[in-house]
Amino acid sequence: MTGIERTDVLVIGSGFGGAIAAYHLAAGGAKVVILERGPWLTGKDFDHDFKLGSSYTRAFDFTVGDGMSILGGNCVGGGSVVYFAAMPRAPRFVFERHGSIGRRMWPAAINRDTLDPWYDRVAESIPISQQTWSDVPYAGGLWAAACNHAGRTANPVPAAIDLSKCVNCNWMMAGCRFDAKKSLLFTYLPAAVAHGAEIRPLHEVQKIHRTSDGGYRVDYDHIDGEDYRIRGESGSIEAKIIIVAAGAGATPVILQRSEDTLGKMPRAVGRYFSGNGERLNTAILNEDKVRDVLGLTRGDGLAYEANQIGKGPVVASWDRLDGSLPEYSRFSLEQLYFPPGLGTILAQVPGMDGISWFGKDKKEILKRWRSWLIIFQMTEDDNEGVFGPPPAKGNADRLSQQMLGLGPLKYDPTPNTLRGWAEADAEVKDILERDGIAEVAAWTNDVVGAYTVHPLASCRIGDDPETSALTDGNELRGHPGIFVTDGSSVPGALTVNPAMTISALAERAIPGIVRAAQERGVDVKYGAPAPDGSTSGRRGVQDLLPTLTRG
């Protein structure tokens, strides 16, 4: 009738949730198109440069909200390109959390034991290294030594990094120039393309419509490759199955904007957002104490002064990941590197009352930047984020040519969340200020609100339709054939880095999505091996399939 383009499966976003779905559906025989709003960057495109317009801003999205700002990927591969590649599984107690609803918030079918086979599938698909102490950069070693000095344990974190290629340049957030980070550009995405999936960069989805045959139509705009404020032509694609995987800061916005064309959205779309309980502290080390109290020297006369050296977060303290502690008192503390700009503006001057994120004293602590150590807290927040009415386009009103925009998220931390942060702050102080090793101050929440690189839960799975937007098979309630597989599906804060859990949940959703596609007449099968052809993960989930494909 019309010349409109058609496909079996349309995937919105090419991060973890989108890439995993695209790979399995393409490998199973479906025709798959992926629309990604950001550019397609590889190897040499990843600059070591803070100049606006380099990969450091091209590949990023920084959306300032009211009380919470979100930092995320904006490129083919999504967050996997700019992330720090720490890939731990979530501790057992996380799946038993009640959060703000007074009863277990995860679907009854999911706990650590039932998710482990899906974690295994991810681990087979994304090469994850277990780091030895010789792989741990100075900053991680310092954090470990301080934890040990305070009677704590500390763990090198499993990471999706080829350690033989890593040069510890700490430019991970601009994309890895040395192909050491095993992003989705090396795993699920090329495998999806090999099976015929098409990836279209610089295509930003705005809205989803229902078609008369029970399928869907998706509207998108072309985005300029350099100035993302400039939009080109618009277009539409029809599909039988829609996978929304634009990330937890964008997925609910697309669905909210589509309410007038799709029909009523479940109440939980755009509610229950969690920032993974994130909060940051900056410690400024006393170099003499690092040498004398912790006994650390680099061999070149320096004790530490190594803030710039490394590969993001490498060592975490997991002592407070203790399921016997009350909810909101459990958290992990991870050493981290954040580059200047994003990593300095919110830091406050230790020991100073009042406002100190800018000004004279702030400049003085910047002079000691080499002796900074950033500690990243992942606590249990209360899913208190709510998205207001969607902006005209995309997920934010863009201010700068790249990266910076203003979005509709509102986040007002509850006393539970504040208590978790206060306990985590106290723990960091207790460890790092012992015997004068360092002075510590938390990042301010007064400038851009709290700050997260781990947006979650804004369109979550669950058993209860009131408090979850998706079924436990990731299907959008009331909209059969629309699935959400990104971080917005995770029910709440995880107390550890989330990509491994987002990916495991996406893997777990696939059999049900394949079944739905079959029911819509798509010739597709479940059962692709890992992207490199390995099959043990597939064997591991075999017994779980019947429960996931019930009609």
């Binding site: 100049k51 731990p88 102490w133 500390a154 910047l366 002079k367 863009r398 910076l404």
Partner: protein, 176 residues
């Protein structure tokens, strides 16, 4: 001049000449202005470039009101914000960037770019900025790249065990 004074409030520097009024001279070494804040703000990539005239006149309006409120003697020779002493400039910018101030997002964005001029030289290639002796990057002690413009740190680890692992660590290296 007004925007220089604003940037200098975010990251203060030393006066460029004895009669420099915009830079208050509250700190040794170059600050945001010497680091190139105005160049960065004027670049269209930031998205604030279009509003700079508005920023300057709004800031001066706020400064005029502030001076009246605090009974400060007017100085007609410079714009009202520049006429304020460093402590007063700081107090005013604190007020404008406080949660709840209706113009907060605007002043925060201006502060953000002023800060970035100093600590990341976001208007220049980083390697060039370091080679040119950029005051912020040099003061922070940022290492220089290899000759090909890329950073590599062959020496990066204390190379020994520094803590015990958590007893509940699983075989995959994750928490149990």
């Amino acid at each position: 001049m007004t925007l220089e004074a604003f940037a200098d409030t975010i990251v203060p520097g030393e006066k460029r000449s004895p009669d420099d009024r915009a830079v208050a001279g509250a700190s040794h070494g170059g600050g945001a202005v010497a680091a190139g804040a105005i160049e960065l703000l004027e670049w269209d990539a930031t998205g604030v470039h279009d509003g700079l005239d508005w920023f300057a006149s709004a800031l001066n309006d706020h400064a005029r009101a502030y001076a009246t409120e605090h009974g400060l003697a007017p100085d007609e020779t410079v714009p009202p914000f520049v006429a304020l002493g460093f402590e007063h400039r700081t107090a005013l910018v604190q007020k404008l960037t406080l949660p709840g101030h209706p113009e907060k997002p605007l002043w925060v964005s201006l502060a953000l770019f002023s800060n970035m001029a100093y600590d990341s030289a976001a208007h220049m290639h980083t390697a060039d900025a370091l080679a040119a002796g950029h005051p912020g990057l040099i003061a922070m002690g940022i290492e220089r790249p290899d000759p090909d413009g890329l950073w590599r740190f062959p020496e990066f680890s204390y190379g020994r065990k520094l803590a015990n692992l958590h007893p509940d660590t699983t075989s995959t290296g994750s928490p149990a």
